[in-house]
Symmetry: D3
Subunit: 319 residues, 6 copies
């Protein structure tokens, strides 16, 4: 029987399918009864699962990351689908098609890597081109970049989302470049490549993405500057001279200022045309992608409007 | 002898050239002496002129809009060039080459009109295409659009600036459209066409641009909705049926929300993907163009930084 | 037996009464059980009703707007009364006294219409008086005005509330006019009449009031300007000439600026004495009426203080 | 020859008139020359006077508060009239008609006192009526109230302005009271009487009004509460019992919260209906009076608009 | 058997212990069932107790403040421990060791009183020293000060917390005084003593602390100024002369401005060096103490981070 | 004759003294005349100098940093003293006592270095102590630290100000440490040492301090993290192992969050007790020092109040 994927489930349907247990917590309700609150995942998304009136034996019968067969029913709760479980059982990895559970789309990531390599190789500024090569020569970096999410929630919050967002910005910078001959778009393109790299360290990509200690204390903006410093050091050793100070400071400024306002966590506001362009492209892509997610996930009965979205303080028009 | 244009003048040079008197005011200094504060214009820009210790006879010897021969010297004051006049005399229009004084670049405007017609004619949505035709069929509208500035100061504050900004946004919407298949970019393109049309009525384009009474009291955002209403009425009479309500409301929403925040004078925040895209494109173009103007006009001695710009709360990197 | 109205119910009393089902939703709780969340209404107010452990047959046995006999008990939940239902049955409209369910007080609305006609007829400015006549001559407009609420919640959120608020402001403008001879209070009175008319289109008045698509996308402020435009067009046809531009812009400005700040959705801040007066009267009436509602609805045990009101960020003194 | 009063002067006219020297300062310009910057006052207003290239002997020839004959010319500077002096000479008080220089209108103040006594005597709440009597029985208090300004600048910034503003609010509270039967308007009226009394101590009324040390450190809001405390103590001694605690706290709350927001210096936001009513009436009167002053003082050439007012962030419509 | 104190309880343990019922409320859940929500207190802290499915007879069997034997179990709910009760019975005061239930630590308060007396007695400014003596001579004041909490929640929210916070600030002012010879630290010390005294009247200290009517309407800042006024009057009678005006205003200013910003309820911002020092010391102590409480109370499973604290908008690092 | 130092000059005195030309600019006034605007400095402070009606020959006769004999007069302008020059002549360095011109107090700096070494050497945490040693072993770093200012204006804006501010915070952290046993004050002390080190690179200390390109683009907060990285690398090489990750992140967090709010340029808010303590100590010291400077520099005639300080939005009490 064909697998029912998370994004195919609908209200009231009976559930009997294998998912990855992306997260699990044992909780007590106010009356003192225990229940499991968990995340059921496959490659198409995640779903909250509730298993009421459990004992600890059930909770201990599987681990975070295991594959589990879930039986129960799909319900609507506060406008979101969730699974009410009546049985759960661990399934050996040998019995599943791993491709069904991998939210990370390897071929998409490979295609994005090709684009990334092509854009960076096409830079005419030798310092920027060499810097790109230095990053690309680091296999571990590249492997982590390809599976990293761009956020815990909101826009691009899935494995591979960071590379998607990164390449999109780089291409968009190229697309609008004819309109602004006064702007050095090679800098903008390199800034787009660098701006969110710190998220590789800020977010844990094991299962559900969460903030690392370093991510909480330092943040991806400053981590990004630190990652750039490492690669600049490698490059200096490799070619025998550092990149010019001014160029280095421009790149650091692009990373530091890309949130656009101090209020949003940038320690510097954008002060160059390139930094202004990068900030606006990033902001537009983040907003359009986030609102698209809200619209896609919306299950309000209204055909024209989503439910009120408190993070953005409004409803959105769907049709 | 070749004309010295406003954008060719430099500090300390002797001045003897004809300009258009774009503005003139008679003022008294604290000691009670009188001086003329005026704007000298040609097609390349405007320059403040100061004529000290004048009497009213001199002030009355020419009118706003007249061509005047100005003698004196160029000085730097607070980082901006200005002319210190020692003589001024009216010159008959027959003695000047009118092309030297027209900041409006007619051939550029014609080229933009061609682009505009082409984009609007290429719309596949019949309602939007007909609406475009209705605007384009109004010769008076088109003539005013072509010479309108987009602002009193800041970005695109010159005759023709509105059309430039409008077509730029329409083209940029087309350029990024492949990235966001979920967005109806025909709506964004039409929104880009409509979003600032109210500025035709908000700003007076006689000489220096200023706000009209209607502009002050109503604002270009609501005037734009009123101008759309007029054309929709014409269109309804012409084709015998109104555009669908939903489409009309979408267009009105695009105009009303394009400033992005209530704080910035939009009575509605963007609630559709199209309105969000339009707002961000408009904002990016406005910011990049405004900062480019600041950098171009900057005369600080520093080779890397402009003077502090209080409107945007920062210095800008020039190199 | 005398009817128990919504505003007469008290905690712990047994319920057996007919109400109008103003709203109904079928929901699932976390354990997967279904319940109906509904609004029970009569002319004195509305009450939340909860019917636990229902099946869909019960939910489908009546429609929104039907009259239903409700049995159960009254409970206090989070400081508000609600009905816990144990049985519900549809009742034919022939069996109810429709006057018991109509929150709209027709005689009050008629009395307000008399006041409205009298004030508008008493205007000495011929343009304003004719404009008033044009509105009053539109029977459909008047009928909708009389039953319109002024809000979805907060102040004047009941059928007829808009007319109440409108006439109150017009009378208050007249009452304070002797204090400010420098202000043209005929403009303020007409502004008070016009300022919220857009709510007729912004809010749906079928059953519970909600926002219409047009209301969400355009808002009552700009809709009000559009409604004024329609009547000005009728008036121009009728008398053969338009009202003077300045007067039209003043009226539009009164509508556009009445929220007082950009932040509150006005695209223009008040710039005339009349607009300032209108904004402050509107604000005072809205605040006093809203707080009065909070105090009236409060069921905290404290005799001096209401519960904390998060919308206004404070408790209110009751005694 | 008839006296030329400050409010009759116009640009370019020759000046030869006696004024009171309300303020005088000796200043040096950037070139090291000295000049006197002074305020020339009569009962119709004040005018800035500039006396260029003076020596200290001239500066010392008269004192602040003296009457001086001023010769020179009237100029427009930055949109305001000012006097450019060429001679100044002290004039003995015996040679002037003191009534010409007294901005305080004694008969207006007497009329306001009559209104004040009548309103307070008409209160039906015995505690409030007795409290009013206690204030009115204090001759020194009453004398100071009658000549006090309500502000250093902005609204009611003239001797007697405080009493005018106070009585206006009390009467306006009475005028709107029929609209809000749920509000105790006797409390609002007493609150209107008390709310700004602290300004008597906050502002010095000798010549130009300035802040006192106590005014700067404590502020009129808390000083008002202290003044109320003194009178409540007198009243308690007089009638043998204090006013009820609740009433006292209500009155204190009315004073403390009348600015409406913490941001505006109120340590408490309005939490009673009476406090909300008082705040809104006070705010409306302050705004309308302040804008009226801006419009009256405006000398822009534009017939429709005042100059930009930076305190209120806008221009105002004059016609 | 040794008593299990509130701060010794852990998840899942069986409960059978006597507590003081610090608060009790009868509530109905959505299904109409009743439960008791109460606070169980001993000297080490308070714990929420839930008693499900009760009838009113149980609720009426004890009063707020009574000692009750509680049986049930300890659960974790939303990261906090709470007791799920299965039985509750009143216990006579004769059967408990009152010392187990008194959160007030009398010996700590006595020690703080000694420190307080010593610091105040050591002041060299005679006016300040006498003022301190006047407060200390008021036995009723001192008794109330010693048991007062400094807040309803957040920092120092326990009986005796006010004196602890007060003496801490006084000592810290002394500790940093060598660094700032330009600051009059005797004023800062007296300001530290006075700044929060109004909390004695603002908060009720019977059982759970709540706001009094006077506290809500006036606030501890202005009440503090009123309490100072009473003691200054006593002092004036006692020594035959008032303290100098300037000193009184300084002290009042220290109290009024100690929140640092109008936004935070101070009607005046700090304008003297002493007021600035006091505000910063108070703010630092409040923040460090509040965050320490958050960290101590945290039961998140994470060893490094607390749960997100919405009041302060962040998580805190624990290790 | 004894030298007249900058801080000894008074209004109207005749000037004939040698200063260092800390800054010089050639400017044109509105009438086209040229003048020199310069800064005259000695070790006690700086003074603005104006030399009117100069030609370029005079301007070119000395360089920034030269010693010049200045003749003229001292004037008061806008409440500040300035020198009106009538003659200026370069003086050879051999003819001046260099000690008179050095604002840097070498012996004070040496004393501070001793304190700094002592505190760092006293740390018990071996990682922190070694890190301190690594910084102190860098002679170039130490030399630059000792002469660095802590700001361009406001607090500690003089050579040596950075070290003063740094050591003051370290000592204050030690002074309050007994009050908060839950805080690791060794971390706070090291954070105090590190928090502003980036200012060494952010500000140019040649003559008048200004922002460097790196300072403008990156800012002292992130530069500080980069400087820490360099020393941690040196330390790792030296001892053969890195400091533990957690400790490194704590130190970086202390630097990054010390401004306390995103708004103030910190990319992270303080999330540890140590970061909160450091922020508050830094803020208190900055505010007290800045206000002390305002009071010391104030020349208002008022004996109790400074002039209005627009940066801090208030006047300050002087006595």
């Amino acid at each position: 029987m064909a697998r029912r994927f998370v994004n195919e489930l609908s209200e009231q349907e009976t559930l009997d399918e294998v998912f990855r247990a992306a997260d699990k917590q044992l909780r007590a309700n106010r009356q003192g009864g225990k229940y499991i609150l968990m995340k059921l995942a496959d490659r198409t998304g995640t779903l909250t699962g509730m298993y009421w009136n459990v004992d600890e034996r059930i909770f201990d019968s599987f681990e975070r990351g295991d594959f589990v067969r879930c039986q129960g029913r799909i319900q609507l709760y506060n406008g979101n689908l969730q699974a009410i479980l009546t049985d759960i059982a661990k399934v050996d990895v040998s019995q599943v098609d791993i491709a069904d559970f991998d939210r990370f789309d390897a071929s998409a990531a490979d295609a994005l890597e090709v684009k990334l390599r092509s854009i960076l190789a096409g830079l005419t500024n030798v310092h920027l081109r060499r810097l790109g090569e230095t990053f690309l020569a680091d296999d571990d970096f590249l492997a982590r970049l390809k599976i990293a999410p761009a956020a815990v929630s909101n826009h691009h919050a899935y494995p591979g989302g960071l590379l998607q967002h990164t390449v999109d910005l780089m291409e968009m910078a190229q697309a609008i470049s004819p309109k602004y001959p006064q702007v050095d778009f090679e800098l903008v393109v390199m800034g787009a490549f660098l701006h969110d790299l710190g998220k590789i360290e800020e977010l844990s990509s094991a299962g559900e993405s969460t903030y690392t200690d370093r991510g909480q204390l330092i943040g991806h903006i400053v981590i990004g500057v630190q990652m750039l410093a490492e690669k600049l050091q490698v490059l200096e050793v490799s070619v025998g001279e550092p990149v010019p100070d001014n160029l280095r400071w421009q790149l650091e400024h692009l990373i530091l200022s890309h949130h656009g306002k101090l209020d949003y966590g940038s320690p510097k506001v954008p002060m160059s045309l390139e930094a202004i362009a990068l900030h606006h492209l990033d902001n537009m892509d983040a907003k359009l992608t986030a609102v698209t997610s809200v619209i896609e996930a919306d299950v309000s009965g209204d055909s024209n409007w989503t439910n009120y979205n408190s993070a953005m303080g409004r409803k959105f028009w769907k049709s």
